[in-house]
């Protein structure tokens, strides 16, 4: 019976906060792997599923169950995709996968068209204040990504975890998934295509169901 153990309580709390559990947390990862069936049946009662992504990490997927959900803001999505892209740079292995946050922001400003940056990070901002707003929104988005364990931050450094690959779900389908693939992504990967204005993240929070 794992449900009365402290380790279960800790993992359950983390998963309910939307956290992703990667191989880097070896003890926790092992515990879930060994007791996957127990976890699965436990969350089934909530109408929720514990998913093991093909890249190895675990996360909870709740659709219409008892657990509340939220969707990530446009800023968090865009930044997640950008970090997933940067993580695929072989040169990053030299620094053991560590990126500097200031460097990341600079890269973002040079790699992404200014118009896209403004629409994603400062959609309702005057042009003169866009730069400052973009910086603020990027920092907020980083906080969200760190809270969900997509990344780990320490000072000016960040390391992307395996879970960052969730932001490459559409890229695996060359950004144009078929209708069948879309259904699979919605059901198995927690992808949402029907997006609303809640996603803009202008108020600083992600949308909540």
């Amino acid at each position: 019976m794992i449900f009365t153990t402290q380790q279960f309580a800790e993992i359950d709390t983390a998963l309910r906060r939307g956290k992703h559990i990667s191989r880097s947390e070896i003890g926790t990862y092992e515990f879930i792997t060994q007791n996957f069936d127990d976890f699965d049946s436990f969350y089934a009662a909530y109408g929720t599923r514990l998913i093991q992504h093909p890249d190895g990490f675990f996360f909870l997927l709740a659709k219409g169950g008892l657990m509340p959900t939220r969707i990530l803001s446009r800023a968090a999505m865009h930044l997640g995709m950008f970090i997933a892209f940067k993580r695929r740079d072989p040169d990053l292995t030299r620094s053991d996968g560590r990126m500097s946050i200031s460097g990341l922001i600079q890269d973002l400003e040079t790699s992404v068209p200014a118009e896209t940056l403004a629409k994603v990070y400062a959609p309702k901002q005057k042009a003169s204040l866009e730069g400052e707003r973009i910086h603020t929104e990027v920092m907020k988005a980083l906080k969200v990504l760190a809270e969900l364990d997509f990344i780990e931050t320490s000072g000016d450094q960040l390391i992307a975890n395996e879970a960052i690959n969730r932001f490459a779900e559409l890229a695996k389908h060359s950004n144009a998934p078929s209708e069948t693939a879309k259904m699979g992504l919605e059901a198995q990967r927690g992808v949402v295509f029907d997006i609303t204005e809640e996603m803009t993240g202008e108020d600083g929070d992600d949308g909540t169901d």
Partner: protein, 436 residues
């Protein structure tokens, strides 16, 4: 050395200068030599030469190491071949001297092969010397231990224990530290080299990358074991030497042993640090191989991500959200302590105090007018009169106002501008106005 051999060397040296032999090679030329050696070793044992076409492909590969664009690759290839031929690191293998250079065959000369081999030797990450140094250190320490057991006189102790111990500390352990620095440098070079293999993303380069990582990891693991074994043995020997020293009341022994112990600990710490660092690097590169190299060999996903970040995302991810619990106040304040709320008073009495307006500016105006009646008003005179009635500090604060009043009350006399002392320590430049 025989006289004939000496003569040969001198003639060779003279020959180099006389014939103006030019061995100048660019780094990319040496890279081509190494790639050529690799290419030849990959082929069957009978092959000694490669075609111009294959050499061109190797030159393009060297271009990618330098991050150079495809434009100009042919020029760089021709220049490299020309330099290599001139330096006699490369030779034409087609004895018939085919006119068309595209049909030419090239082979490495003994100089070219030695250069390439030397370069390969340079990047071999080898911890063996460090193990050997540490083992030699223990042999030395063991000898000192034996000498300590036998030394009974001060002189013998000094010559056979104290001095060798100081030598051990200075020389052997310094050699270890030098070697550590060398290993660190090699470590950095390998770290820089791994991304070039990952960028190639071919089956061969991935295997090579894994090979390099495994080799370094094994070397470091061996080094950790050697260091632990050697230091354990050394700590034992040091304890014995210290015991003998204590028995014979040698005052310098504890200090020397402590110094060696301290340095040994720092070596062990260094080895453990590098082991940990390489473990992290090993995991990072293997994670890259698992999630990027193996699943995205053609970089289709990476390119799609690059395209995706250029536009506003039209999809999102759903994540579980913990219920938001209301945060309650810690304790409610008891009724007795709670401050009574009061309606703001609207019937209050306004207490007013009448303050007389400042009379001093007017007094200054009067003084100016009085002075003007006599024909002219001088800044120093007005201040002098005012000083009799008011404090100096008050007057100083009104000087700008006074100046404005004077200028507006009369005509400015530009000739009267000498300095005058109007009070002890208060010197002003004169300002005189005459009646309008």
């Amino acid at each position: 050395m025989s006289e004939a051999a000496t003569d040969q060397h001198i003639r060779a040296a003279y020959d180099v200068v006389a014939q103006r032999r030019d061995f100048h090679l660019e780094p990319r030329d040496v890279a081509i030599l190494v790639l050529m050696l690799h290419e030849l070793s990959r082929r069957s044992a009978q092959t000694f030469s490669i075609s111009a076409e294959s050499l061109r492909a190797l030159s393009i590969k060297a271009d990618t190491f330098e991050g150079l664009p495809p434009a100009g690759s042919e020029r760089r290839f021709t220049e490299s071949v020309s330099r290599l031929l001139k330096a006699e690191a490369l030779a034409r293998a087609d004895m018939t001297r085919i006119r068309n250079s595209d049909d030419a065959q090239y082979q490495l000369t003994s100089l070219g092969e030695s250069l390439a081999n030397w370069q390969v030797q340079q990047i071999k990450f080898d911890g063996e010397p460090l193990g050997a140094i540490l083992a030699a250190f223990n042999v030395q320490l063991s000898g000192i231990h034996e000498a300590a057991e036998m030394a009974t006189e001060d002189k013998a102790w000094h010559e056979r224990v104290s001095l060798p111990m100081q030598y051990v500390i200075r020389e052997l352990l310094s050699a270890v530290q030098r070697h550590q620095r060398e290993l660190d440098r090699e470590h950095e070079e390998i770290r820089a080299f791994v991304p070039t293999l990952l960028k190639e993303s071919s089956e061969t380069s991935i295997d090579r990358c894994k090979g390099v990582l495994d080799m370094v990891m094994k070397t470091i693991q061996d080094l950790v074991h050697v260091t632990v074994d050697v230091s354990n043995a050394a700590f034992g020997l040091l304890a014995h030497i210290e015991d003998v020293g204590e028995r014979q009341s040698r005052v310098d022994t504890p200090g020397l042993c402590e110094d060696v112990r301290h340095r040994l600990e720092s070596i062990t710490e260094w080895t453990n640090d590098r082991h940990k660092a390489w473990g992290t690097h090993f995991d990072t590169v293997h994670s890259y191989l698992r999630f990027v190299s193996h699943v995205d060999r053609t970089r289709r996903i990476t390119d799609s991500l690059k395209e995706a970040i250029a536009v506003v995302p039209e999809w999102t991810l759903q994540v579980v959200d913990c219920p938001r619990l209301p945060i309650l106040r810690e304790r409610s304040v008891s009724a007795g302590e709670r401050a009574v709320m009061k309606r703001a008073r609207r019937d209050y009495q306004v207490d007013s105090e009448s303050v007389r307006p400042d009379q001093f500016p007017q007094r200054l105006r009067d003084i100016i007018n009085e002075q003007l009646l006599s024909g002219a008003a001088r800044w120093s005179d007005v201040i002098g009169i005012a000083l009799k009635e008011q404090l100096q500090v008050r007057i100083v604060s009104k000087l700008p106002e006074l100046m404005q009043q004077m200028v507006s009350s009369g005509n400015l006399n530009r000739e009267s501008r000498q300095y005058r002392e109007v009070a002890p320590g208060l010197i002003v430049e004169e300002l005189e106005v005459t009646k309008k």
